[in-house]
């Protein structure tokens, strides 16, 4: 069998040099499986429209919704217009941009397991190739629960709707949403299924945290500035804290959350992604594999939880009745589709070590929870105190360690806390904060994470996506803890909704003479 040579790379468009949109992808057909779902209307279509609004989509870009409900193209367009009116970053919707965008919006009705639906879908895509210049390029977005992934990928393969990048020709890419499995075994199975139809480099595993500007800015902060990296190690850093707090409860997702819990929902993906970005070594280039190679090294260096003593360095909590932001909040066990005796954790705190040269002995305290006082994601680097307390004999001088805080959301920014002399004849000190806020310095609202990630997929850049080994390494670290928690017959530690978690979480860090930072 002869193998065609890969297509020669096309020279970049010289007219794009210096333009705000320097990179514009080639037009493709983006097929959204699960187009009638919440993710499509709240995030995907509004993000795609905003990209069109900002001139970042190529002429001819086509979006095909695929789902079970029976819509016409026009009905789908109308529903998506309403979604954009509600959720797009660039509102109000610009009539001219929408008209043009909507011309590339189509719908195919079908069941995910129905082979003839894929035939119809393929016909539609081929028609778009002829009329819209999409040239056989395909992106399949699986906005569906993971159990549908095997059948969709199998039927795409059976209908010959997937090209092999090794053989050249137009690209095919697939985007999958978390959860990437339920544990190591299911993640491996999901990945095995993926590579029966797609090659690893065609698979884009979306973790929307990686699309956030501030998360990307972590790398810029660390590696584009000369002043931070020399201090970014065990010699100068006392400990690191990471917090992902949500003020909302499980909302309509009680059924899903019962099987997941916060560790699977947040820690395994978002929090470990943040840990790896904070702790990684400088990559040789800001490119997909060098960046992900360094991230996965951090995950491999995570110290295993001591067998039989897992609960000594972890806390699992669950919210009870309380109030959040002035509103009454019911206990997790009273939420719809939640067992009244549920042991599922809605809060997790852990003390984690990264066993490598840079971080040996530096604890990373991580916590995530629902129904906490506010929605905030925050990373704080706590530096060691000055080596010699030369002011110790003076009253009014209490020095505090420096803290570099990186606010991921909301009100994105970076602050540095340090001590300063209070003006006056005597020596008194007070902590002051030097702040950088995105909103103040750059004015404009940053693009939504999904905008960035969809664009990167169209451009074929997987730097901001999780690679197979990252996902599996994260699961292999977390699995023993999940098993230990599952075997523990005690209920989780309760905390009232609207507080910062159970008391045991405070004790976890206070045992080490430290305190949680109030984010």
């Amino acid at each position: 069998m002869s193998v065609a040579a890969p297509a020669q790379a096309l020279a970049p468009n010289p007219l794009r040099e210096g333009l705000e949109q320097e990179r514009v992808p080639d037009a493709s057909c983006l097929v959204i499986f699960g187009a009638s779902g919440d993710l499509t209307s709240r995030k995907l279509l509004p993000a795609l429209y905003s990209l069109a609004h900002d001139g970042l989509l190529p002429a001819g870009q086509t979006i095909v919704g695929f789902a079970r409900p029976d819509y016409t193209d026009d009905a789908f367009r109308m529903a998506m217009r309403e979604a954009c009116d509600k959720y797009a970053r660039t509102r109000p919707v610009d009539a001219a941009v929408w008209d043009n965008f909507a011309k590339g919006l189509f719908y195919v009705q079908g069941d995910f397991a129905e082979p003839s639906a894929y035939f119809r879908l393929n016909q539609k895509l081929q028609e778009c190739d002829r009329t819209r210049g999409t040239g056989g390029r395909r992106i399949y977005y699986l906005a569906v629960p993971p159990q549908f992934f095997p059948v969709i990928s199998e039927l795409l393969g059976a209908e010959k709707m997937v090209t092999d990048p090794e053989r050249g020709g137009p690209f095919t890419r697939v985007i999958i949403e978390k959860p990437f499995g339920h544990d190591l075994q299911s993640a491996k199975e999901l990945n095995r299924v993926a590579v029966t139809t797609f090659r690893e480099r065609q698979v884009f595993r979306i973790d929307h945290y990686l699309g956030k500007e501030t998360v990307q800015n972590l790398l810029v902060l660390r590696f584009a500035n000369g002043i931070f990296e020399p201090f970014w190690n065990r010699q100068y850093i006392d400990h690191v804290q990471l917090a992902v707090a949500e003020s909302i409860g499980v909302e309509k997702r009680g059924g899903y959350f019962e099987t997941a819990g916060i560790a699977r929902d947040i820690v395994q993906n978002h929090l470990l992604q943040l840990v790896s970005l904070v702790a990684m070594e400088p990559p040789v280039a800001f490119e997909a594999d060098p960046v992900r190679d360094e991230k996965v090294k951090v995950l491999r260096a995570l110290r295993e939880f001591p067998t039989g003593h897992e609960t000594e360095c972890t806390v699992r909590g669950q919210y009870t009745d309380g109030s959040v932001l002035g509103e009454k909040a019911i206990a997790y066990r009273k939420e719809p589709n939640v067992s009244p005796e549920s042991k599922t954790e809605t809060y997790a705190a852990m003390k984690v070590f990264i066993d490598n040269w840079r971080w040996a002995g530096v604890p990373f305290y991580i916590r995530a929870g629902k129904r906490l006082p506010k929605r905030v994601t925050d990373i704080s680097i706590h530096f060691r105190p000055a080596p010699y307390p030369m002011w110790r004999k003076l009253r009014g001088v209490t020095t505090q360690p420096n803290v570099l805080a990186i606010r991921i959301q909301p009100d994105e920014g970076i602050s540095l806390k340090f001590d300063s002399k209070v003006p006056g004849p005597s020596v008194r000190t007070a902590p002051v904060t030097m702040e950088f806020r995105y909103a103040t310095s750059f004015g404009a609202e940053p693009p939504e994470a999904y905008e960035r990630l969809l664009l990167e997929t169209m451009l074929g850049d997987s730097t901001l996506f999780a690679r197979r080994d990252e996902v599996e390494t994260a699961w292999s670290w977390l699995d023993p803890l999940l098993a230990a928690w599952a075997a523990d017959l005690r209920p989780p530690d309760f905390y009232a909704a609207g507080t910062w978690g159970p008391e045991s979480a405070d004790q976890l860090i206070e045992r080490d003479g430290r305190k949680w930072r109030r984010p």
Binding site: L15, L19, V24, A27, G60, G135, S441, F442
Partner: protein
């Protein structure tokens, strides 16, 4: 909501400007207004030569400071006025949510007669250290007083002009000389306006099958909207557009404005059309290819878009680019948000001045 105590103009002795500014903030802090933050990312020096332009600069920079906080120094230099120098200070405050305000400083320097030569050193003393400096020159560039321009530019990282006000190709050459002879990088608000046209044109050549056709351009026609005044500046956007195509595609433009490409001589037609609205902007651009087909871009004012179409052998869906009328403060903000000067503009400026020769014929 604004902070009227801070925003009021206060006349100050030029030697005491920094002290008075510090006092202003201190008084405000003592009044217990912790919801106020003083911020600056740039020093922006606006050079004006009349009361009208001074008022315009103050308004534009006041609005721009909501997005890019800055110390604004507005100079009004009037050689024909009485020989004196006077200064005022005030602040531009903007709500940023949760009752918090961000405030930027504005310093006005009004100089007349021979005192205008004292302005550059005074401006130098008022610049915030470690922050970039942009000089925004309002109105026509006085290419007959190049030394004065260069002395003001001495500390500047960027010179911002608006070539729509230029009265001759010599102004383009002066900007080009600034780029060649100094460390100041020129920037042009007209070039920012042109971005929508550049984006629309680039979009035509994004599809892989269109890319090779850049080498088969035989004719370029750009139509500029002009008013009754026939001011040279009204054609500059069209000139920059043509020069940009030539620079990026690799066409050679000789000293007389003749254009050559790989297929031989290429016809660059820059036309002027009188129009009541939108003088200075481009109305229409058309690129003709060797096979007789063409691509065109036109402004659709009603829909607020530029629409591009390719006819002939290859067709593609209509590509649109949002064409919103950009206010001067938005153009200034776009400029200040660019960390570095625009290297493409530097390539384009000398070509535009050579292409201007075609218009003189």
């Amino acid at each position: 909501m604004s902070n009227s105590a801070l925003e009021a103009d206060v006349r100050v002795d030029p030697r005491a400007i920094e002290n008075r500014l510090a006092e202003l903030w201190r008084n405000n802090k003592e009044a217990g207004d912790d919801a106020l933050t003083r911020a600056a990312l740039w020093n922006v020096v606006a050079h004006t030569s009349s009361t009208e332009l001074h008022t315009e600069a103050s308004g534009v920079l006041g609005r721009a400071s909501a997005t890019v906080p800055q110390r604004a120094i507005i100079v009004r230099a009037m050689p024909a006025a009485e020989p004196e120098i006077a200064c005022w200070i005030s602040a531009n405050c903007h709500l940023v949510g949760a009752g918090k305000q961000i405030c930027s400083e504005e310093i006005a320097i009004v100089a007349g007669g021979d005192r205008i030569h004292r302005v550059p050193p005074l401006v130098n003393a008022l610049l915030i250290p470690d922050m970039p400096v942009a000089v925004w020159w309002l109105g026509d560039l006085p290419n007959e007083h190049e030394d004065y321009v260069l002395s003001l530019l001495e500390p500047a990282d960027r010179l911002i002009v608006d070539s729509v006000h230029f009265d001759s190709p010599a102004d383009l050459l002066l900007v080009n000389r600034v780029a060649e002879k100094t460390t100041t990088t020129p920037a042009d608000l007209n070039w920012i306006r042109l971005e929508e046209w550049r984006t629309a044109t680039a979009a035509i050549f994004d599809p892989p099958d269109m890319r090779s056709r850049l080498n088969s351009i035989r004719r370029l026609r750009v139509v500029a909207a002009t008013s009754d005044t026939e001011l040279f500046g009204e054609s500059v956007e069209a000139l920059l557009y043509a020069a940009w195509i030539s620079a990026q595609v690799g066409h050679d433009v000789d000293a007389h404005g003749k254009v050559e490409g790989v297929l031989g001589s290429i016809d660059y037609a820059i036309e002027r059309r009188r129009q009541e609205n939108g003088a200075g902007g481009i109305i229409h651009a058309e690129i003709q290819f060797d096979d007789g087909s063409s691509a065109s871009i036109a402004r659709d004012r009603d829909r607020g878009i530029l629409a591009a179409n390719v006819d002939g052998v290859i067709s593609m869906p209509e590509a649109i680019t949002r064409a919103v009328l950009q206010r001067p403060d938005e153009l200034i903000v776009r400029q200040l948000k660019q960390a570095k000067g625009d290297q493409v503009l530097l390539k384009v400026l000398p070509i535009a001045s050579r292409l201007a020769k075609r218009m003189e014929r």
